[in-house]
């Protein structure tokens, strides 16, 4: 009996240990993302395929796209609760009501969705049909090394959701073509456009007596000095802990001084000799000038995002060089007296075209292996009717990509972009075309420059040495 008791005790102990190890292991193997998904069941029947509809010249709006039940997996970069996510859910519900054979399962993964999508593609489990993100990130994750997105050239020829015109002709000129040449085809469909501008409070400018926005760098410095002398606010707000936000200053200055593509080309030059171009040193010196003249708000070096943009929104700083997403981020936090306005990055030393604007697109992509690309594309077309685009752009400060659409908010951004004569990608497209260099060499040094740790000549030396060393290491 005692022997049996002993055996039972041993068995019990081992079972407890095994159960603990198993539960810990299973907890560690969490598997697929648990972010919220939305779905609805559908029933019903029949229809017309996209090709037949296009051939008949009929719109797809009133007819269902799928002849039998189809499920589309949409993995979005949105976070639960953000305005675009709420709108996405509305689009999905409306589309499914019009197309009862289609079920769209939306999974909101947040801004690092691209990593999760690549993991799913490598893992062989459920893969998405439809994704969205900034084009820079989609290119970096899904198109740079191998084309994981579907070429949409053929589908773009099909009619728009609610019009008898090819879908591609509903877009503002230049919006689809922005990436087409680089990629050798259309792989992504934009749903809005951002740009970066100098944002300011018109009411504050009126108080200080600034009646004209600066269009040259010297005029910009005069505006900074006027604001500083007024004592009402610091001239410039910044969140210097963000690499992108520090890069805005340097990349815009080099784009004006040297033209599009020169910064990227310098990062690709294995000899490092491109950094000897005096334009780069000039750009770095102009940033140093802002620091020496104390145009950045006091103690900005210790700011942790979003402290800088909060200072701007609350009137402690007058101007903020920022992407137009700021219009969404601060929309609910502005005082009533705040009159949001923005001006373009000025020309510098007589160089650069003020209507050479940054175009930063965000939009959809369809995975190459999607079993129902035409259905996913039909949903895209639904979102990008003129009415849909208006709803997207009314959320914040995005500019519409669809012809004839005006935004209820920040129309001045659309007006600025409408004057575009030349265009370039944010940060000279370095994040998409040279992401390792961006992380390992460029961002640490440009943050050092903007934070005042590196003098201009030190910055150029470090960039040159870093470029040589980076490529030698490859």
């Amino acid at each position: 009996m005692a022997r049996v008791d002993k055996i039972m005790k041993v068995l019990l102990s081992v079972s407890v240990v095994l159960a603990l190890v198993l539960s810990l292991s299973l907890a560690g193997c969490k598997g697929t993302e648990t972010t919220a998904t939305t779905a609805a069941e559908t029933t019903a029947s029949a229809t017309t395929a996209v090709e037949e509809t296009a051939a008949a010249g009929e719109t797809t709006a009133a007819e269902e796209i799928a002849s039998e039940p189809v499920t589309i997996e949409f993995w979005s970069c949105r976070n639960i609760g953000e305005p675009m996510q709420v709108l996405d859910d509305q689009f999905i519900s409306e589309y499914m009501a019009e197309n009862p054979n289609v079920t769209i399962n939306a999974t909101y993964l947040g801004r690092d969705s691209m990593t999760k999508i690549r993991t799913a593609l490598a893992g062989g489990g459920t893969i998405p049909d439809l994704v969205d993100h900034s084009f820079t990130e989609q290119v970096g994750a899904l198109l740079k090394d191998e084309k994981l997105l579907l070429n949409l050239n053929d589908l773009m020829q099909t009619n728009a959701y609610d019009q008898d015109v090819p879908f591609k002709d509903t877009f503002n000129p230049g919006t689809i073509e922005l990436w087409t040449e680089k990629l050798g085809g259309t792989y992504m469909i934009p749903y809005y456009m951002y740009t970066s501008l100098w944002w300011y409070d018109q009411a504050l400018f009126d108080q200080i007596g600034i009646t004209e926005v600066p269009t040259t760098w010297d005029a910009f410095l005069n505006v900074c000095q006027t604001i500083k002398d007024s004592g009402k606010a610091a001239p410039i707000a910044i969140d210097p802990g963000e690499g992108d936000y520090c890069s805005f200053y340097f990349y815009w200055l080099t784009t004006r001084l040297l033209g599009n593509g020169k910064l990227l080309a310098a990062t690709m030059d294995e000899t490092g000799a491109s950094w000897d171009d005096p334009g780069f040193l000039n750009a770095a010196q102009k940033i140093r000038e802002l620091i020496d003249k104390e145009y950045f708000i006091k103690d900005y070096q210790g700011y942790v995002w979003p402290a800088g943009q909060i200072d701007w929104a609350t009137g402690k700083s007058a101007m903020l060089l920022m992407g137009s997403w700021i219009g969404v981020e601060i929309r609910d936090n502005l005082p009533e007296t705040f009159k949001v306005a923005a001006f373009q990055f000025p020309t510098v030393d007589g160089k650069g075209n003020i209507n050479n604007n940054e175009l930063h697109e965000t939009g959809f992509g369809i995975l190459k292996d999607s079993p129902h690309p035409e259905v996913a594309f039909d949903f895209i077309k639904y979102c990008l009717t003129a009415a849909g685009e208006r709803r997207i752009c009314d959320l914040g400060a995005a500019s519409p990509v669809i012809k004839g659409v005006t935004s209820a908010n920040y129309q001045f951004i659309t007006d600025i972009l409408a004057k575009t004569e030349e265009s370039h990608m944010p940060h000279d497209n370095m994040q998409a075309e040279n992401p390792e260099f961006w992380t390992q060499v460029y961002v640490p040094n440009v943050m050092g420059l903007v934070n005042g740790e590196l003098m201009p000549d030190e910055f150029i030396t470090k960039m040159k040495e870093g470029t040589v060393s980076f490529w030698a290491n490859k």
Binding site: D112, A141, D244, Q301, G302, Y303, V304, Q431, P444
Partner: protein
């Protein structure tokens, strides 16, 4: 002998689980570190020690190793000084001991993102707690941007010491509370004061707990990730505060700027593993001595 063999059979399932879920990923990481591989495709190119060679020439790797060393040594010294002070106070009979013990352990049970938010507020140069107090007492001259690049790592260090000191206090206290009181009584009769009792009795007798705590700290400091990754921004924090683990994550998965170099990141992981193994071996050697039983 038969009994021992029959017991061993019960260890087989656990061993299989351990090998599958712990040892296999480690061995696989070492294998992957010799390849140029994104982690997301089938294209693995053998590099030999190429990733390691690149790593030692990578200025960011050098910076993260320096940062890891700062967290490990300075963080460890400050954490254990604080923990030992707490042990000294608790051992000398403080009222409401359980309450204070719970308070100092509190940071270990609060969600890390909440702690990051708290410390971001504390360090804010405009309305933060530190600068606010300094201004309130007329010491404006001492206000600073505490998270400026040249001092960000020290700001994070202070926060991590605050977070971890309580945990190590509990470990050391568990040893201190086992010490029989007659040791203190006898030394008191010989005229020892409380400080002498602490250094001559308490410290030697919690040596084993100290060894365990120091080993745990060394591992924790090398693996430090969550607080640092969350501290700073919506993107990822300034590289001034990165540890090797943060850099490893960014190389593997990125966040906004996609890099996807799992092979290279695995080489970094192997280096971190070697660092942990060496430091724990050295610690065991330093703390080795004859066991004291009482």
């Amino acid at each position: 002998m038969r009994k021992k063999i029959s017991i061993l059979w019960f260890l087989v399932p656990v061993t299989i689980l351990y090998l599958g879920f712990f040892m296999y990923p480690v061995i696989n990481s070492i294998f992957v570190s010799f390849f140029n591989w994104s982690g997301f495709s089938s294209n693995m190119v053998f590099e030999g020690i190429g990733n390691y060679r690149e790593l030692f020439n990578d200025p960011l790797f050098q910076l993260t190793m320096k940062n890891t060393a700062i967290y490990m040594f300075f963080g460890g010294i400050l954490t254990f000084i604080l923990a030992l002070i707490f042990v000294f106070i608790f051992n000398n009979g403080i009222r409401f001991k359980k309450f204070f013990r719970a308070v100092i352990f509190l940071p270990n049970i609060i969600a890390l993102i909440a702690l990051v938010t708290i410390w971001n507020f504390i360090y804010n140069p405009n309305f933060g707690l530190i600068n606010g107090i300094l201004r309130a007492i007329g010491l404006d001259i001492l206000t600073r941007p505490w998270t400026a690049p040249n001092r960000a790592i020290w700001a994070v260090l202070v926060a991590t010491v605050w977070i971890h000191a309580g945990f190590y206090t509990i470990i050391l206290l568990s040893g201190a509370e086992k010490i029989p009181p007659y040791y203190y009584e006898a030394s008191g009769l010989d005229g020892a004061n409380r400080y002498q009792k602490f250094f001559k009795i308490t410290m030697p007798l919690i040596w084993e707990e100290l060894r365990i705590a120091v080993t745990l700290w060394l591992i924790t400091s090398v693996k430090m990730f969550e607080f640092i990754y969350a501290f700073g921004s919506s993107g990822y924090p300034s590289e001034k505060i990165w540890t090797g683990t943060v850099y490893m994550y960014i190389l593997s998965f990125g966040k906004r700027t996609v890099i996807y170099r799992l092979g290279y990141a695995s080489a970094l992981a192997v280096i971190l593993l070697i660092i942990i193994m060496i430091t724990t071996a050295v610690t065991s050697r330093i703390f080795r001595r004859q066991a004291i039983e009482y």
